[in-house]
């Protein structure tokens, strides 16, 4: 074991004064740009997202076109770059197109939760008292369910489909974001500069806008980006058990489902969609960590 009392951490070189004088966000940007892990992850995600957006131009084949003759072709065997699935469709195309649905299903609920949960939490945190109690009690009840269970229960109740899955996941994430938002807002609300702003006679809206939001949105946003990786896994998980998207749509979780039987024939191809989920989720996770580290300034 390392010698206790001797901290092995190399102290980070402080940012140059020029950056410090440009304010908080300049400092955050400066730190982010020097964080190699975050940059790499950002690049990977950019590639995945751009590929999803420009799928029609990038995919070598039609993701829906089946071929009963050429099912479950192995990787690198022509004409398929990374093989074909159980119905003979080109895996590479389906993976690229799959990014669209998987990313949408993953990011949209978090965006919704950010807006709804953020608003609820900030209002509860700033107003305090009865409003706070009412909102947070409701949040507590939803929080009492494990996320997967709640997601599956709601999606199961609503039925299959993209919209239903997004609604289910939004409902799962709103309480989590609301909790974080309320905690941070209550903290900021208790600081002297908010009191000073109240003492100056400004309207509640002006105080929120100028003093509270700027200091509160940062941590909430960082938390939300951390949620994206969970959301992608959950969303694909929903498709994996048959809720969510239905065949023949290309979606990574759904592809894992339909390829399950094929693990005996062509295991590599069968595992590929999951690898995409893993990679995307991990990249979001690492970026979120990097963002949190960059924003954690103790000036």
């Amino acid at each position: 074991m390392a010698e206790v009392g001797v901290i092995a951490v190399k102290p980070e070189a402080p940012a140059p004064a020029a950056i410090l004088s440009q304010g908080y966000w300049a400092l955050v940007r400066y730190r982010l740009l020097r964080d190699r892990t975050t940059l790499v992850c950002g690049a990977i995600l950019l590639v995945i997202i751009l590929a999803a957006i420009f799928a029609p131009y990038l995919a070598p084949a039609d993701p829906y076109k089946t071929s009963m003759l050429r099912r479950l072709q192995p990787v690198f065997k022509a004409p398929y770059l990374i093989g074909s699935d159980e119905l003979g469709r080109d895996m590479l195309s389906r993976l690229i197109y799959g990014g669209r649905l998987s990313l949408v299903m993953g990011i949209t609920p978090v965006l919704n939760a950010l807006i709804i949960g953020g608003a609820l939490g900030i209002v509860a945190g700033y107003l305090g008292g009865a409003v706070n109690m009412a909102i947070m009690r409701l949040v507590d009840v939803l929080y009492a369910f494990p996320s997967i269970l709640l997601a599956i229960a709601i999606a199961g109740a609503l039925g299959t489909g993209l919209t239903n899955s997004i609604v289910a996941l939004t409902i799962v994430f709103v309480p989590q974001v609301a909790r974080v938002a309320e905690t941070v807002t209550t903290q900021v609300r208790g600081l002297d500069y908010v009191d000073a702003a109240r003492a100056s006679g400004a309207s509640t809206w002006a105080i929120l806008r100028v003093h509270v939001l700027g200091n509160v949105l940062g941590p909430i946003f960082v938390y939300a980006t951390g949620l994206i990786s969970v959301s992608i896994i959950l969303a694909s998980g929903l498709s994996f058990i048959g809720l969510g998207v239905k065949p023949p749509e290309p979606e990574w979780g759904l592809m894992l489902n339909t390829l399950r039987q094929s693990i005996f024939v062509n295991p590599t191809v069968a595992a590929l969609p999951g690898a995409m989920i893993f990679m995307t989720s991990m990249a979001f996770n690492l970026m979120s960590d990097g963002l949190r580290a960059a924003m954690d300034v103790k000036a």
């Binding site: 600081l191 000073a196 100056s200």
Partner: protein, 364 residues
């Protein structure tokens, strides 16, 4: 600083009642904090933070408020600013009651009164450059942006920070003393008549503290301000105040002109406080601790006079009845005008006919 002749103050167009009318009249202010606990979240205890205090503030004076931690000084400040709502009591600003139907609103109060807090760093939004922090108040009140910015520059130079160098700085780039100057500028941006300084210099290094105190004195003269100076530092209060108010456990125990309080303290608590101040004279050494007994607990304060458990002169009357500030000390003048030189004390030893063995004879 003498009390009877205050420095000439420039005439203030907002002045309503003239110099005889107190700028602030506080009547029976009370704030209890309820502690909840127990199984059903019932009220289990009450912190009697501020209990029925009344005092007047003269235009152009500096009133010092002293007391130990927990005596209610900061709560009083926040009650005056209406950052906390009082349970009871009235505040009358230059003759007009705050919150009453025919008086002025809280917004009006905040136009006349501003506050400087103790923690210079927590008082400023770390995300805003200081120009924005200073200009926020005026802008929120409808002052046009350019006018507010010009006012911010003007105030920065008034408090001794060169505008061109400091206007775009962030709080973390400034030292404690500089930040406190910014806080003062921010308080002055709304052109108040009264500035409450809640331990405003307590957290600063001594040399910096001296500079800021001098700045405060200069500003007061130049702008015709009235100060309410809250502190636990007796030396500083002595230097800056015209009158002093001593608080203990939520009540006022003594009030009067500064030289009389420091020269002939009447309340046993005030005497103990003052004798505990270390002296520069090596021949005067403190050998006996001035106050014995446990520090007070604002929850369930002692009955009667709150100081009696620690008072060397306590007698049964002190446990039974709380002494009144109005009755003790100099006899109040009969007419309506406020006697600014009155040295009042809430102690049975100074209330005529109170039943205490040391009390003067006579009275009701």
């Amino acid at each position: 600083m003498s009390t009877t002749a205050l420095a000439e103050v420039p005439a203030d167009p907002r002045d309503r009642g003239g110099p005889a009318q107190p700028l602030l009249l506080v009547e029976n202010l009370r704030k209890y904090f309820v502690l909840r606990g127990g199984v059903l979240n019932r009220a289990v205890a009450t912190v009697q933070a501020v209990d029925d205090i009344s005092f007047a503030l003269r235009k152009g004076e500096t009133l010092g408020i002293v007391g130990e931690s927990g005596c209610g000084k900061s709560t009083t400040a926040r009650l005056l600013m209406r950052l906390i709502e009082p349970d009871q009591g009235r505040i009358i600003l230059d003759g007009e009651a705050v919150g009453a139907a025919d008086g002025i609103g809280v917004g009006e109060l905040r136009r006349a009164m501003q506050m400087v807090f103790q923690d210079s760093y927590a008082s400023l939004n770390p995300r805003l450059p200081i120009e924005a922090s200073i200009a926020f108040g005026p802008r929120a009140r409808g002052v046009p942006a350019q006018v507010a910015r010009d006012r911010a520059r003007d105030l920065l130079s008034k408090v001794g920070l060169e505008p061109d160098r400091y206007i775009r700085r962030y709080p973390h780039e400034l030292s404690g003393g500089q930040r406190q100057r910014v806080n003062i500028a921010r308080a002055l941006a709304l052109e108040p008549r009264l500035v409450i300084l809640d331990e405003a210099v307590s957290a600063l290094d001594k040399s910096v503290e001296a500079q800021v105190l001098n700045l405060l004195a200069d500003l007061k003269a130049e702008l015709g301000l009235t100060y309410l100076f809250i502190s636990h530092d007796l030396n500083v209060v002595h230097w800056i105040s015209d009158r002093v108010l001593v608080m203990y456990l939520g009540k006022i125990v003594e009030i009067g002109p500064v030289e009389r309080i420091y020269g002939e303290p009447k309340h046993p608590y005030t005497r103990a406080l003052l004798s505990a101040m270390p002296s520069m004279d090596p021949d005067r050494r403190t050998e006996v601790p001035s106050i014995v007994g446990d520090p007070p607990n604002p929850i369930n304060p002692p009955s009667g006079c709150r100081f009696h458990p620690r008072c060397p002169h306590a007698e049964p009357i002190c446990d039974r009845t709380a002494p009144s500030l109005a009755a003790g000390g100099d006899t109040a003048k009969g007419d309506h005008a406020i006697d600014w030189d009155r040295h009042a004390v809430a102690c049975h030893m100074h209330v005529p006919g109170s039943g205490h063995s040391a009390a003067p004879v006579g009275g009701a």
